[in-house]
Each structure stands twice: as structure tokens, then as C-alpha cells.
Amino acid sequence: MGFEDTALLSRILTTMTLSFHILYATIGVGVPLMILIAQWVGIKKKDDHYILLARRWARGFVITVAVGVVTGTAIGLQLSLLWPNFMQMAGNVIALPLFMEVFAFFFEAIFLGIYLYTWDRFEDQRKHLLLLIPVALGAAASSVFITMVNSFMNAPQGFDLVNGELINISPLLAMLSPAVPTKVAHVMSTAFMTSAFVLASIAALRIVQGSTHVYHKKALLMTMKLGFVFSIATALIGDFSGKYLAEYQPEKLAAAEWHFETEDEARLILFGVLDGQEPKYAIEIPYALSILAHGVPSAEVTGLNEFPEDEIPPLWIHYLFDTMVSIGMWLAFFSFVYVVAAWRKWPIITKKWFRWLTVAAGPLALIAIEAGWWFTEVGRQPWILRGYMKTSEAATTSGQVDLMIILFAGLYFILGIGTIVVLSRMYKRNPVEKELAQRQKADKGGDPE
């Protein structure tokens, strides 16, 4: 098997594992904050519904965390197994945040264990709430550190390469590459946004299925408000990400926008198909690309023709970018409408089709996460370390990658199905109405459970 082949197979396996892991990781970063907020609101308002909400979310959360841990361990090892040459170099320069991430995992895993097994153990709910803070911090920190590694791959710095030797290595500089501010902020805000919409979808689904309990309405309104806040943040930070790209990775932005000639007053192209270098059937927004790239309508945007043929990323990332941005815009708009309608008591919210749109929010956000990562990673091609190492040079020479792809595909399939089956069974067997009734009985001195 040739060198190129193992590189392609390794890319397939990496893509598979990361695309699967990122769904769980995103939820792992965002949901602790949601639980924190719900429990806090519950304590403040002395409203048992919110506390129960936090508790039920936490139960589901453990399951996604466990799968996140399993797939995370897989990707962690696979990076060395599939990209040994890259990791050998990366180990010399960017090992620091990877290493720090492990401590963040420790911190999160320890306090998650404690938090889950100490419900009602403290007289004062607030003490229990405190235990959740390290979980949320640990999860956020782990995403910050791993995103720093990915930023380094996109905008490497902190070393010099002289005759194939790495010299003048500065771990801190490598860790704080120019891609870090926008990337970290965007990854965090999208994690919060996605988690809020996923939880909103669940509440909306229960209502569509006929539950009329006020518990679900409270959950839905709260998560939609949070989703709105974070989707605005996401769009703003996404705009900054565009400016980062224009400065440091202009070829990625140009490929995403099918922007061939360097020109000012550049238009933004949405969807469409490419005919040679001419987009057809596309929605065009004048000046918008110049604004996205530099903040002024007249600014000059570098085009693809400035780059050597073999350093241009695949042009289909255009659709990934469009998918992400469209979903982002839609969700910001939709959650705004929802919140206003709930506040003004417009009857539209109770319409079935509107409920179904709400149910769609969570899956849409997850699709945007996938599209966003694929866009960043495929948009970095042909580089694995932009400007220094090509992906094809980094791959393993082992001949068994194809078998491993089949093996892991099977594993992720089972884990994915398992998550869905177990989560839905768990909530079906113990619907909130039943749990609320039991708690009331317990409060009145009846038998607990």
C-alpha cells in the first residue's frame, strides 16, 4: 500500500472519530453551564421545577460524558497512531496545552463523580451547586486547551525550522497563536449555544408529544433565551473569525467564498454552483465579503489566484461555510422570535408547526458544529501544520488502517444508537410528571419512592 493511501485512510479514520467525538464534546462543554444556571434559578426562585430540571439534565449528561470520554480517549491515542510524524513534531512544540488538558479532564471527572453522587446529601442546596462549578470550569478548560492545539495547526508559531531542525522553541508562544482568541471564543460560544438548543429541542418534543405540564414550558423558555444570547455571541465572534482568516489564512476564506481575483468591494456568495471560476445560481450580497474580512465595504480581499495551485483547499468547503452561517443566522432569528412571542403571548408558539421548528433547533445546531469543524479542517488542507508540514507527510506507514476504519465505524454506530436508546428509555420510564408526584408525596411524609 502506498504512502498516499495510508494518508487518505488515516484522514478518513480521523474525520470519523473527531466528527463523532465533537458532538459529545460540545454537549460536554455546554451542558454543565445549563445545569448550573437551572439549579441556580431554582434555588433563587425557590422553584422545585428548575431544580428537578437540573437533576434530570444531569442524569442524561452522565451518559453523554461517558461516551465522550470513550471517544476522546480514542482520538487522543489515534492522533499518535495515525499521525506519528506530526505528533513527533507537535510533541516538541505544542505538547504543553495537550498536557494541561489532561489535568482539566481530571478536575472535571473528579467533581462530576462527586456532584452526581451527592444529590440531597447536603442540607443546603447551594453547597451542592458549588460542586458543579469545577465541572463546568474543567469542561471549559479542556475545550480551551484542545482548541489551542488546533489553533497552532492553523497558525503555527513559537519555533524556527532550520534545515529540518526545530530551534528557538517557545511553548508559550506556540500555545498563544494568533488563531487562539477567535477560535477559543467561537468554540465556547457555539458549545453553549448548541447545548441550549439541544435541551430546548427535548422540551419542545415533550410538548409536541402531548405533555402539558408547566415544567416543560419553563424549561423551553429558559433554554430558548439562553440559546438566543449565545447565538448572537456566536454570530459576532464568527464575524471576528472571518477577520482572523482574512489576515492569517486568506486562502481558506477565499476558498470558502469562491473568491478568485483579489479585489476590493468584494461580494459575498451564498450557495450556488461553480462554473469554471464563475458562481451560478448563487445569492450575492454586495460588499459583504469585504465587511466580513476587514470590516469596511471598500476593503481589498485576497483571491485564490494569488496562491500556488497545490496549496489551495478544496472548493466544496464553500457549502460547509454556508451551511454553518445559514444555520447560525436562522437560529438567532428564530430564538429571537420565540422569546418575543413568549413575552407578548402571541398564539403562534402553540402552533404545532412552530413547535416542530423548535424541535429542529438542536439537531440544526449540531449540524452547524459539524459543518464548522469540517470547514476549518478541510479548509486547512493540504497542510496539517499550515506552511510547514503537509498532511500526506504526516501519516502513518502502517498497512492496517482500513481494517481499523471498519472496526471503529462499527463502534461509533453502536455507541450512537446506544446513547439514543438509553436516553429515551431513561426518560420514558421515569417521566417528569411521575417524579414530581413522587416528590410531593415524599414531602407530605409518604414513602419516598
Binding site: R59, V62, I63, V65, A66, V67, V69, T71, G72, T73, A74, G76, Q78, L81, L82, W83, P84, N85, M87, Q88, A90, G91, N92, L96, L98, F99, M100, V102, F103, F105, F106, F107, A109, I110, G113, I114, Y115, Y117, W119, D120, R121, I169, S170, P171, L172, T396, T397, S398, Q400, V401, M404, L407, F408, L411, I414, G418, V421, V422, R425, M426
Partner: protein, 342 residues
Amino acid sequence: MTLEIIGVSVLWLFLFLYVIVASIDFGAGFFNAYSAFTDKQHILTNIIQRYLSPVWEVTNVFFVFFFVGIIGFFPQTAFYYGTTLLVPASLALILLAIRGSYYAFATYGAKINHRGYIYMYGLSGLLLPASLSPVLAMSEGGFIKMKGDQPYLDYWALFTSPLMWSIVVLSITAVLYISAVFLTWYANKAGDVKATDLMRKYALVWAGPAIVTATGIIFELRGHNPEHYSRILDLWWVFAISFLLFIGTVYLIWKKKNYGLAFVLLVGQFFTAFFAYGVSHYPYLLYPYLTIYDSFTNEAMAIALIIAFIAGLGLLLPSLYLLFRLFLFDKDYVKGKSDYHA
């Protein structure tokens, strides 16, 4: 002490901790499955779930720590081991996934207690040490070879090697022995007489095989890697201490006395043996290609990693203390008097 020595000691220490906590976890799964098979499940399941469910993620992080840390301190290992371990490490990942999903789906989640699942979970506890431990054999040299400038793993040499198989058998017996001793103590604390008796029996059963296979490996090494063998002999007195600690553990378990101390002695036994083995392996990470010196990272990174490690430890130790106080040393929790699961 050089930076290289600090780095490798930190990694070896965390690997040791992983060996202990993971052995408890792996072995417990196996005993659970075995007792389900012989219809004694109710004796063990509770004990196992009370202790393992809250901590298995922490156990897993010890493993992650080791492989992330080794790439950080010794990046060249990525090239040699990364290239050659694709298949064994992937299999280990699948087995880890079975365990992780068992906790997720069967103990936290909808309580899928299908027997097949319990058996798979139990079996993975034996197969995991069997799939991870060959790496120790590979590090002795002779199995990872070079084709041009690319390393590859000679499966035939590996699978026909008595050294490899004795390491596999040792890892399995050690897992069962460590786990049984720990669970004897835990069950005793929980005041569960039946479970204590059962685990005590297992501990005594597995003590013999564990020590015999461990000794066997030293003799296998004589033929396979004489250099390493002679360095082991230089450290004979450490192995002697380890053996005395072993006798102590077995004596206490036999006499049904002080199971807590018995477990502490056991940790001491493995600690001394593990470190003596590590020291005698020095300076090689992979005979004869890699030593800790030629594969070491640059100085700036090494210092940064050590600082991060110290800071991380400052965070980790108090948290671990809290975790153990709540789940290992809290009488009510251990006895199952209070259940506060979300």
C-alpha cells in the same frame, strides 16, 4: 536529577497508579461477570457499583495522562510506538469502549442488565491487560524492527515469544489479585460478610499464580534481553523487599486480619517491583533504538511541562482527597446506607 529522569519518573509514577486503579476496575468487572455466571451476582454487584461507578472516569484519565505525557516528554516515541501499535492499541480502545459504555448504559442509564453485556464487560477486564501489556514486551526489543527508515511490528516474533505470553499471563493474574485484595477490604468495610468471604477466597487463589508468573518473567528475560536481566540482578534486594511485602499481604488475608493494611502492603509490593523494573530498564524506552536521552523533548518544553505538572498536582491532590473521602472512606456511603445518585 536531570530533566529526563524527572520526566520519566513522573510518567512511570502515573503508569503505576493506573496499573493499580485499573486493575481494581478490570478485576471487579471480571468477578462480577463470574458471579453472575455462577448465579451469585447479588453478592458482588452492589459493592462494585458503589465504588466503581463514581470513579471509573478518573481511572481512565490516568491512562490518558500516560499517553499524552509520554508524547510530551519523549516525542520520538510517537514515531516508533505510534507507527507500530496501531492494531493492538485500537483493540485496546475498543475494549475500553465496552467498559465505558457499560457504565454509561448499564449502571447510570436505563439499567440494561442483559447477561451478555455483563459477560462482555467482565471479559473485557481480562482482555484489556492482555492487550496493553505486550507493549512492555515490545519495549524489551526484538519485536519492533526497521524496514528502511520505517519501524514495523513483527507479529510472528511477538506471538511466538514466551516472554510476551508470560507478561500477558502476569498482567491477568496481577489484575485479579490486586482487585480481589482491594475488594476484600472494601466489602469488609461495607460490613458485607458474604462478599468479604468470597473476595478473600479469590485473593488467596490468585496470590500464588501472580507471584509465580512475576518470577517467571525475570527468567524469560535472561534469554531475551541479557543486558536488562543483569541489571535486574543488581537490584535483587528491591525485589526481595517486594517479596516480603507480598508475604505480608497473604499472611494478613489468610489470618483475616487488618485488610486495610493488607492492601497497603500490596501497593508497596507492586510499587517496589514496578520501580525496580523501571530502573533496570533505564535508560531505554525501546531497546535498542530509543533511550530517554535521545528521544527527549527540548529543554524549554520540558521545563514548561514540569511546571504545569506541579501546578496540576496542586489542583489534583486536594480533589482526589475529596473524592476518596466521600466514596472510599465515608462509612455511610460504603455501607450503602445513603444513596444520593442524581
